[in-house]
Symmetry: C2
Subunit: 319 residues, 2 copies
């Protein structure tokens, strides 16, 4: 019941299987194809849903892949190119038609609020729920959301328009009991909640047991999202220790000049970034419409960073 207050009442019974789970909804770059949609993904963190980018058609992608977008709590928009935000208004209006009442929080670049407001004005939409907009700041890593269980940061990347990446770090106000230790010392179960909260336990006969002896820090998941950007190796050390990094790989490396001209990255560069950062897993996405299948991206990246995955729409990845 620890997280029960975080579960939306109007949501379905959908629960993600892992503490942090990423569902990919779109893997195309600027132009969609008949098999790839514009950028969008949903991060499920202890059954709270967070959306990252929201290209055209994302509401339908949610329906097709079983993501209950009515339950999305916050959305993070990287930049104001159409393939990253055009689906937002459709989701907002459909949530409204479906009776949403919980507030919806949007984190995005300056201008996204004006884009939304102009459309609300002309369509005479009055929402049943509060929409709160937070403007991203172009000044290094910024904590843009923080609570007991989660910290979200934004950081600028380099694209043709202002663009940001995001990090999601699971937090826990509680430590975990070390397996078998409490039992071996006859610590009563009633004492566990104090120990987990970082308080020592004194037994009825006056023996003090340190919480550090009996508990340990839990394994906490972390995820970084990086699109659209030119290769930024100087950023990678700042993401050291992250479990999973999603990095755009619009082109193969033989198209490096095109990547640089359009402020995008290649599969090889994404892999080099992951190698510097030392993450566990790299997920590649944001593929140019010129590529029909992603085998070459995988080959190119795994030559540099072995644990690389190709983002597949509708697939969920444990972080």
């Amino acid at each position: 019941m620890r997280y029960s207050f975080l579960v939306f009442e109007n949501g379905s019974s959908y629960l993600c299987q892992m503490p942090m789970e990423l569902t990919i909804l779109g893997t195309s770059s600027a132009t969609p194809t008949t098999t790839r949609h514009p950028s969008a993904q949903v991060l499920c963190i202890k059954n709270r849903l967070f959306m990252i980018d929201c290209g055209e058609g994302t509401q339908l992608q949610c329906m097709v892949h079983g993501v209950k977008f009515q339950r999305i709590e916050r959305v993070f928009i990287s930049h104001l190119h159409q393939d990253h935000y055009l689906g937002l208004l459709g989701i907002i209006t459909t949530m409204n038609l479906n009776g949403r009442q919980e507030p919806f929080y949007i984190y995005g670049p300056k201008g996204l609020d004006e884009i939304m407001e102009v459309q609300f004005k002309w369509s005479s939409i009055v929402l049943n729920y509060a929409l709160e907009f937070f403007e991203l700041k172009d000044d290094g890593f910024q904590i843009i959301y923080d609570d007991e269980y989660l910290e979200v940061q934004s950081f600028p990347v380099k694209h043709r328009v202002p663009c940001w990446g995001f990090t999601f770090k699971e937090k826990s106000p509680f430590r975990n009991m070390k397996k078998g230790v409490a039992e071996s010392k006859n610590i009563p179960i009633e004492a566990f909640k104090f120990l987990k909260s970082g308080e020592d336990y004194t037994s009825p006969d006056g023996v003090v047991f340190s919480f550090e002896e009996l508990t340990e820090l839990p394994k906490l998941s972390s995820y970084a999202y990086i699109t659209d950007t030119i290769y930024l190796p100087e950023l990678a050390p700042k993401l050291r220790g992250f479990d999973t990094i999603y990095h755009e790989a619009t082109y193969l490396h033989d198209m490096l000049p095109k990547a640089e001209e359009t402020f995008h990255s290649t599969a090889k560069q994404a892999a080099e970034f992951a190698a510097i950062a030392g993450c566990d897993t790299l997920i590649l996405g944001h593929f140019s419409a010129r590529y029909h299948e992603m085998g070459d991206h995988l080959l190119e990246a795994t030559a540099v960073f072995k644990n690389t995955l190709i983002a597949e729409e509708g697939k969920s990845y444990a972080i």
Copy 2:
């Protein structure tokens, strides 16, 4: 070769089979479903493409159903609810990325230009082609486009925001030769072009043949598009003689109060409209997400107007 100047050079070899052919891309109302997309359709008139409404995801629907949207000449937007225009910017930017140079003409309500401009501003898009916007007027039937071969009119309907219907009437500057008559009178082929243009022919021995005797008016197609609107029987007589009318049928008639409250129509009302107008064919669309299949809409409408069709996505209808 009569219409060769109308065929876009950059288009594919796609040709519509009939003088006027309608391809349905979206049949849902406000909320899409996994099988129905927001409103959008393409009217092919002598191989020129015209789009009517452009809901979210229309560019992908074009790709899926083989409509070369790069060849679309003009788009007509009925109103500024999201399910009717959200796909427009995606199509505009993809056409740009794909090298469009021909101008693109948008006919829509006041405000659509501001919605586009705000987004161009924030995404720093500079188009390779001209975008021309024509604001619809709330004053009865208005000719909004006219050339030798086609006349398009807009007319206001009644919805929760300003909303328009559109009529498309094929025109021809030429008459057709009556079958066998010229041959029976030994009229030389060289005279045909004058006769078709409405000039009499005088034979070398001085006999005058009237163009009316030798030619006839061609059969010209006409189409009317009506969505989203409360039932407007007073409008129907103004559409008398149209071949095909597309009319929204958001609800079945047992939901008439809901239809009236939301300024929509029922299948029965759409059929009554078609019966008053006396069109050849009625196509129903814009179905509420509450309906999973449209058998009841068809039953309800055909009881009033026999030649009713249910709009099916990806299907083309000869007008």
